[in-house]
Symmetry: D3
Subunit: 262 residues, 6 copies
Amino acid sequence: MSHLLPDGAVHLAAVDAHRLAQWLGGGPRTVIVPAGALEQHGPHLPLGTDGLLSGRIAAAVAERVGALVAPTFTFGYKSQQKSGGGDHLTGTTSLDAQTLIALTRDVVGSLLRQGVRHVVVLNGHYENYQFLYEGIDLALRDGGVTADDDRCVLLLSYWDYVSAESLEAVYGDDFPGWDVEHGGVLETSLMLHLEPGSVWLDRAQEHPPARLPRFDRLPVVADRTPPSGCLSAPTGSSAEHGRLLFEQVVRDLAADLVAELG
Amino acid sequence: MSHLLPDGAVHLAAVDAHRLAQWLGGGPRTVIVPAGALEQHGPHLPLGTDGLLSGRIAAAVAERVGALVAPTFTFGYKSQQKSGGGDHLTGTTSLDAQTLIALTRDVVGSLLRQGVRHVVVLNGHYENYQFLYEGIDLALRDGGVTADDDRCVLLLSYWDYVSAESLEAVYGDDFPGWDVEHGGVLETSLMLHLEPGSVWLDRAQEHPPARLPRFDRLPVVADRTPPSGCLSAPTGSSAEHGRLLFEQVVRDLAADLVAELG
Amino acid sequence: MSHLLPDGAVHLAAVDAHRLAQWLGGGPRTVIVPAGALEQHGPHLPLGTDGLLSGRIAAAVAERVGALVAPTFTFGYKSQQKSGGGDHLTGTTSLDAQTLIALTRDVVGSLLRQGVRHVVVLNGHYENYQFLYEGIDLALRDGGVTADDDRCVLLLSYWDYVSAESLEAVYGDDFPGWDVEHGGVLETSLMLHLEPGSVWLDRAQEHPPARLPRFDRLPVVADRTPPSGCLSAPTGSSAEHGRLLFEQVVRDLAADLVAELG
Amino acid sequence: MSHLLPDGAVHLAAVDAHRLAQWLGGGPRTVIVPAGALEQHGPHLPLGTDGLLSGRIAAAVAERVGALVAPTFTFGYKSQQKSGGGDHLTGTTSLDAQTLIALTRDVVGSLLRQGVRHVVVLNGHYENYQFLYEGIDLALRDGGVTADDDRCVLLLSYWDYVSAESLEAVYGDDFPGWDVEHGGVLETSLMLHLEPGSVWLDRAQEHPPARLPRFDRLPVVADRTPPSGCLSAPTGSSAEHGRLLFEQVVRDLAADLVAELG
Amino acid sequence: MSHLLPDGAVHLAAVDAHRLAQWLGGGPRTVIVPAGALEQHGPHLPLGTDGLLSGRIAAAVAERVGALVAPTFTFGYKSQQKSGGGDHLTGTTSLDAQTLIALTRDVVGSLLRQGVRHVVVLNGHYENYQFLYEGIDLALRDGGVTADDDRCVLLLSYWDYVSAESLEAVYGDDFPGWDVEHGGVLETSLMLHLEPGSVWLDRAQEHPPARLPRFDRLPVVADRTPPSGCLSAPTGSSAEHGRLLFEQVVRDLAADLVAELG
Amino acid sequence: MSHLLPDGAVHLAAVDAHRLAQWLGGGPRTVIVPAGALEQHGPHLPLGTDGLLSGRIAAAVAERVGALVAPTFTFGYKSQQKSGGGDHLTGTTSLDAQTLIALTRDVVGSLLRQGVRHVVVLNGHYENYQFLYEGIDLALRDGGVTADDDRCVLLLSYWDYVSAESLEAVYGDDFPGWDVEHGGVLETSLMLHLEPGSVWLDRAQEHPPARLPRFDRLPVVADRTPPSGCLSAPTGSSAEHGRLLFEQVVRDLAADLVAELG
């Protein structure tokens, strides 16, 4: 069916409106909305890491399932110390909750009104999740989309698709937990696979995983974040690990979408 | 110093304004704000479970550390299927994100303006966390409270203080994960310890832990939630487990507050 | 019909979701939402007075008419000098208008969506009224509830049900007006009847009713509020007066609900 | 000092910016903001009655005290059945709470930033009061205006300045209460004095004062409002009564402003 | 049909509710909403110029087409340096975007709900346009008014109806562009025609049109605005030019409304 | 100084946080924020045209002046019929005003807080302008940035930098006006120069410029928009024209920034 779209098109922004209308009219369609952030990721990864990864995974999944990918939400919710080092760090450029909720509400709502059957919001920034959820919920309420509607929205974070096998292959027994996987082995390996020119491993800093309290404290006590800004070091990252993670996540996520959405 | 307050007073609502003012003037003070929800918890637990548990834990901690407890946030953010069964279930009476954010912002901001040195927001409803966080962040921004201020706010969920030892004592090797601990052994045991008259174990339904997808789907596919509304069964709950959990959490949380806040 | 609910249950928070669903399915039902505040009430009454009184009246009315009572709104709109002494006083912990409006909108809207036929918002804090009204109006608009619907919401302040006979019995000819009844004879007597352990009459201060200008001035001129924080003294309060007021208000309000709602 | 302004100027909208700047620079200045509504007032009074009356009273007071009058808020909060007949009636064109709050906040805030020392919000529509109050409170918070500032804002409804003597002169012993003074003797008399060409007494309907419940019910039961839309009949209105009321209110209000603001 | 209304009535505020209801029931009706601002217009024009002009044009058009005119929006969006000199100038009393949007949304929405078929928002303050547009769009969304509805809203700025012939007659070849027509020949001439008593030509300042950058800079560099506050001088203004402009605009706008709305 | 950044880096998202901090510490810095839309642009241009063009112009200007470019705002305000064909057209995925205002406020505010001295918002979607302006104004208010601050924000639309010479070179005497330059010669030529693979000239439709009324009508009368969705045809577009326009605009805009910001 993709002959309805420009050759190789996977990004909504790269499609013209006329072919999009035809494509939407040709059957139930899915659009994936990647969500990232502009957030410090240590000295070895670029600020745009989260949006870049969610966008690349979304594109690969879209190719497999015949979906289109909306422009990435390149700004995200505030970085929290226990998952991203904290919002006080230079480079981290964040949205208030209401802004991210509104952005999600508007974009999801508009896609559904245009006739998109399934919207998949694919999150790549830990702190975003609940605000994306609220935006989706409000968009469905606005549109009167209830349980007996054939339209739906899925929300997920890509790391929830990393399998136990992949974890073991990458970390052995040393997986530190998703909470401190900020600028660590997962993100660094994926970037080495997908955007090696934007990784500066020689600038990475070695340090043990951050040990943060069980509570969040605000204002942040800055020196609880390691000087690198990462919550765990990228030691052991490799493009090969990245390839393995990427391919497994894309495969399983695509399969899940097919199973769920047909 | 507690002689400044009415005998045995631990709840802000039960103190008069004049003695409160004296108490606040007598040194750096802490107020704990419990947050819950009005949410279905299966056929064997009352709708107010989350607020009741966070309120009771807050009161016990407050007694230990000489703090006061604000009125509980008895309404919370929308129940999500993967952590609470879903917001479509009767009895679940929820707030939009902006409402909970605003409530938190106003209450935390007002307490700090009155001279409370430390506010501790003690969460008992999984879905609340990020919105409480945003409310706190906005209150601090409103008040111009920055890192060099001696005032601060802590945010935590009480289950993050359940120790590995307690987990093992209660679940053995069968801990199903916090995500499906909704109406399960933890909450039921705590309720049996704290409010046995509001637990109807004979009405509990036996079933395996819910197996939910890795994504959230909206609108919710209702029959993915077990008919009980619980995500795991309360089988194995006991008042004794509840006592053990309660005492350990209260002890460790109180110790943490003392260590952090002095 | 109350056999559908746990024995003696009058509070929504103390009911389980399954029995609530049965109860709602068994006929047109009423839920009462009490609204109070956390507000200074002089040296002899606790901060939670307003919510405590509206909650107790709601419970007694609910028992008579077979309704349930939702959790009390324990925070209210800003205390105004002419009706509550002013929002600058320690202990007074208030909400912005938009917060109280949103809270009311969400809770009323959710109750109606769950199948509650009649919601009664029972106010106990003078300053709340208009914001509760707006929240109700928006909830009805959201839900498309128009005049031909069989669902409705009532809003009232409990003192509007104090009869002329009660007034005379309590005050003789010296009723100072509802506007300065803040921490005065009405509230103190009710508290002496309902919560005598939370009244410290020995701490009460004697003074004439406050004489405030016909305008509101902001920022408040603090010394226009009597040092007690009360706008009239509680002299002459008694548990017996409280009992009389309580029983008369509960009786008349219950009768009014039955007459209006069936 | 009024030589700084155009001859006879009392309305801010009729002054040029350069002379306004001079006037503001010449000493502490007061601006009065009248607030009304576009609301049905029965068959004998125009929709703009509330704004017209508050605007005329403001102008007369301003002349006496050397103030300027801002453009009237010609739209107000929703008409409520117990004070205005209800918002469902044709002609009544109302604002949501947040809109009126925002309007007040912006205008009051801007006037204070321009150097106005005292702002007086003069209300002529019963339902507006609390929302005007909130708008003022937020404007002061925005501007960091606290108790030790020499700037302040007064808020009042003009009928609170009607004296007992005036009441008796106009109503004898039959004053029905301000609550049902909607389209009744007060407003009609004032209009006969101030805008006789906009009163159509021959169209007035005779009926006893409305007897409304002690609660507000929403949605409104329409036939509780008298067919005229008035809550009491204008029988007995006269231009002479209007003159008496107008002059007394203007005199006392002006005196109060002078006493309060210097 | 105008016999349904009070003699000569053209302003909604001057009509009573009963006759308005009859008029609305008598066929498809149009209400015009003029929008202005309270904004400095140099030393020779009053602050209310924009609302006064849009109101007067609206009234003249309404007379021709049998419409009514709602109360003018007398406050508008912030003055921008390139079109109004800047919001920092004394006298300029502006609304935040959200306030103007909300005001428009509420008023347009209410008029449509009352049965007005066509609403025409007639703008007289350059900076308002996009916010009026958004308010209209939201009102239509609220009301579920879609393309197949017979209700509609028009939005326009009156200067878009100045014809090429009028421009040439007034300016010859020296039309400086609408962007700098702030306090210039157009507005001054219209005021001389419509409100000569509120024009003080002897106070006007002569200067060439302002030369402002192609960008907006915030905060404003104040001395880029001419000391007069006008962006072009009123030199060459006359009541005769004003008459010509007024009559041509009213004629063409009325014709356009008839052609579009029937 | 650009040696502080990764080689050739011009995009903020491609820089790591540590080098960004150094760069910001090394002198007064400028960040450019491009703003676009996801909007139909006829059958021959992709939906992302506006963001793509503003992003490419921003990057070229940034290279010349040593600035960085923030991630593009890829969603914009609603397409209006007179400038973009209308928001009802498939593919057009727009934001409400408040969303775009909030996005701008958050991003501009965060950049200033991080130490960016000058922010330049470079607009490429006609309808965005006023909402970007409001977002900037609110960010400055939040941050207390007043006229005597050395920080500032510039806002501009790139077409305001097209010179008269360029216009003549591209259009001869047939420039139809910026208002109908949607999917026309300007945008198409720029795209042919910058992204030839995303232009499908063979799919372009020939038609005269749209003749739209002087008013906006909502809901939109759909068939007033040409079937192509463009307001003028791209006939006469060429990569050469695009190169000329691009280079002239980039040159003049860069020169303007240097002149204004140093």
